[in-house]
């Protein structure tokens, strides 16, 4: 009798435990996917058209010790002619107070679509690059940066 009771409790506990685990395992991923301000911003810029994931050279450190100075370098393969060039490049951050980081406007005179700058990152997050060519098509890529000490003064 005593044994039976014990087993009953443990089974309930086990069920609760399983429910708890699956809950914590599933919910963060859902909320993360929904609350990505960078992806929302990408949707806004592309007017819902979306961007194709593309192989762009987008260099950020994997681990940034100081979030106040994180170097970003990118290079997009483009002939940069009058009829085929990258017009705009956006850098967007998921975990900063605002998703906008920088907007670069390129012209065919530049001969190559490449630039570098230093940005602030407030915490570990995904950084997105969104590029628009002169035909209105969008390309994107992203990189995850682990930030040890955050910038932005939050």
């Amino acid at each position: 009798m005593k044994l039976k009771k014990l087993r009953k409790i443990s089974r309930r506990n086990a069920l609760l435990l399983i429910a708890g685990f699956t809950g914590t395992a599933i919910f963060p991923s859902i909320s993360f996917a929904q609350s990505s301000q960078a992806l929302d911003r990408i949707n806004e810029i592309t007017k819902g058209l979306g961007a194709t994931e593309s192989d762009i050279y987008f260099d950020l450190p994997e681990i940034a010790e100081n979030g106040n100075q994180v170097k970003v370098t990118f290079e997009i393969d483009s002939p940069m002619t009058e009829s085929d060039h990258i017009k705009t490049v956006y850098i967007l951050a998921d975990g900063n107070p605002s998703p906008n980081v920088a907007k670069f406007s390129f012209t065919p005179e530049m001969g190559s679509c490449s630039a570098a700058t230093r940005i602030r990152l407030s915490k570990t997050q995904n950084v997105y690059l969104l590029a628009e060519n002169n035909n209105g098509q969008f390309l994107m890529t992203n990189a995850k940066v682990k930030v040890t000490i955050g910038g932005c003064g939050g």
Partner: protein
């Protein structure tokens, strides 16, 4: 402010069709509007919000800067040489103050 002084590195001697790298740096605190001073008061936003590069009067590169850009904005970009000429670089901050620097480039 006299403490704000831009610096730009453009190769002086270049050849036609060469893709050169231009490095720019301007000393600016880039207050994001989120930092607090020693008395716990928020320092108001004061950043450089625009940078542009002109070559012989024609704009070739422009960048919008947001508070997420680091103190002392450092910008590197490339340019394909076609002729000798002069670069004009311009930074504009939130107060509407403009900072200029020009650099000559000669094709050899």
């Amino acid at each position: 402010m006299s403490s704000i002084k831009p610096r730009v590195k453009v190769p002086k001697e270049v050849s036609i069709d060469e893709i050169i790298e231009i490095k720019t740096l301007i000393r600016h605190p880039m207050h994001s509007g989120r930092m607090k001073d020693n008395n716990g008061q928020i320092i108001p936003r004061q950043i450089i919000n625009s940078f542009s590069a002109k070559f012989n009067g024609k704009e070739v590169f422009q960048m919008d800067l947001e508070p997420s850009i680091s103190t002392n904005p450092f910008i590197v970009f490339q340019y394909k040489v076609k002729e000798s000429g002069k670069f004009d670089f311009e930074w504009i901050d939130d107060n509407g103050e403009k900072y200029y620097i020009s650099k000559e480039m000669t094709v050899s």
